[in-house]
């Protein structure tokens, strides 16, 4: 048994999802190898080598992997796959993109969005937007798995694995990167933040989201939003927390003017402590909140900022 874990990174830094992936992979095997594929990313391989439980890091550092295009990455992972019984990637837009290609080329099923690794062949995953939880067993010779990182603790960083350089270059003529419009923010990323404050339709417009800034500054929080707020055009899509957006599990989640639609709850209900601020005391969000405060958010937010 051995697991190849695909490192989540942006060529600048190794994401904590990778530590969580390693933790998840330890449920299937104790022999864990991390693949870092990117460009100019040797520092990331060094960081991955420090994750506890990792026996080796493979570094595929080449320009063709800069944007981690799925055609190239799938072929790279496929070539390495012979040595492993399990292939794990995060269920991020990177992992979701290339991993099913790997599964199809190996002629095996993929187990998506795993929230618990029961054993080497049995996994737990949400279906129907989290309204049901399935336990599934795979008899495929190789298990191809994407992991919902938020459901796992992060492995520590006290390891000391070796880094092996891989010269394999896989590139497709059929696909190329054109451009990216990445959100620039001083705040932590939603999926990595310890504290998140999210606004919903109750914020009324995009300008009012500024009311969350002062509180986020004081708490070192990321700012999120419900799908209703995104669909209404208040804020960009990448701020969306929910089944079809980001799945988060911070220490503290503050939901402001969010009613608590099932698809939003699916994205944040594993948070350690949930606070709901809503003027409708019947709002479903209160049924999952540890602390509920009924009232007008436009009164409450300035008071909260002042009290912190």
């Amino acid at each position: 048994m051995s697991v190849l874990v695909y490192a989540e990174h942006d060529n600048e830094s190794l994401k904590t999802e990778t530590n969580k992936l390693v933790h998840a992979a330890l449920g299937a095997s104790t022999d864990i190898v991390v693949l870092v594929a990117g460009s100019g990313c040797s520092a990331i391989a060094d960081a991955a080598a420090k994750i506890s439980g990792v026996s080796k890091v493979i570094l595929a550092d080449n320009e063709v992997y800069l944007h981690q295009l799925p055609e190239n990455i799938a072929d790279l992972v496929l070539e390495l796959s012979a040595d492993y019984t399990h292939l794990f990637a995060a269920a991020t837009t990177t992992g979701k993109n290339f991993m099913p290609r790997v599964a199809a080329l190996l002629d095996v099923a993929q187990i998506s969005d795993v929230i618990k690794v029961v054993s080497e062949d049995t996994f737990v995953r949400p279906i129907y937007a989290g309204n049901a939880i399935a336990t599934v067993q795979s008899s495929d010779t190789k298990k191809v798995v994407t992991v919902r990182a938020a459901s796992f603790d992060a492995a520590a960083n006290d390891g000391n694995a070796s880094v092996e350089i891989l010269d394999t270059v896989k590139t497709s003529e059929k696909s190329s990167f054109v451009s990216a419009e990445l959100t620039v923010s001083e705040r932590p990323e939603l999926t990595a933040a310890d504290v998140i404050i999210s606004g919903g339709r109750g914020m009324q417009n995009g300008e009012n989201f500024a009311l969350l800034n002062g509180i986020a500054d004081k708490l070192g929080a990321a700012i999120g939003a419900s799908r209703a707020a995104v669909d209404a055009g208040f804020v960009p899509n990448d701020m969306q927390v929910g089944q079809t957006g980001k799945i988060v599990a911070p220490q503290l989640y503050i939901a402001v003017g969010i009613s608590g639609a099932i698809q939003h709850l699916a994205g944040m209900k594993d948070s350690k402590v949930i606070v709901a601020i809503n003027k409708d005391e019947e709002a479903p969000i209160f049924s999952v909140a540890d602390y509920g405060l009924v009232g007008d958010l436009f009164d409450i937010l300035p008071q909260l900022e002042a009290a912190l």
Binding site: A180, T191, Q243, I300
Partner: protein, 252 residues
Amino acid sequence: MKILVPVKRAVDYNVKVRVKPDNSGVDLNNVKMAINPFCEIAVEEAIRLKEKGVATEVIVVSVGDKACQEQIRTGLALGADRGIHIETEADAVVDSLQVAKLLQKVVEAESPDLIILGKQSIDSDNNQTGQMLAALTGMPQGTFASEVVVSDGTVNVKREIDGGLQTVKLTLPAVVTTDLRLNEPRYASLPNIMKAKRKPIDVKPVADFGVDMKSNVTVLKVEAPAQRSGGVKVADVAELVEKLKNEAKVIS
């Protein structure tokens, strides 16, 4: 240009599903079914490309038992030209890999220039079929699309990724999977619903495709999610901050 749009029959998105008491699955008896929302967005995008004069023919294909012809008709009522129904036994559960292999055969027979699918179905939530089909057919892929621009043998796909948006350029033929914000599907008009009844659907039994339909994944049990119990209501901001500091200890 020919566009193939695979669609899936799934539980209507407004339905709150319940787990069966014996934990064998989700109870689908007498539950309203509909075209999977992401698939509907895929059909809409294909129709728009036809209306712009980019596409000449839109084919809707679905894998499932007889009932999924309803969803093929939905696609035809939205404006697709013809349908293909790959018929399975009643209530058969088909994995993404098997669907991708069946679609691969359809692609070989029809040679579409573009295949547009929903990024995932709202029942099994796998998010796999499009990527698997792309791999099996050796095509490039643009997943989670929020904009699709076809020009001269290529397609530019703007993708919704975790940090923002990314645009990739793909050589046709290519696979695109839709995200929520790609478009807002139209409502089918009554005359178009009537017209759709006369459009052809080619029904082919799954056995004709020579695909091994055996799944290597067994569902051991399906349970309702653990309920998080609601906590307490606090009276004001001062009490909230006090609780967060001293009781929950999540802020200092």
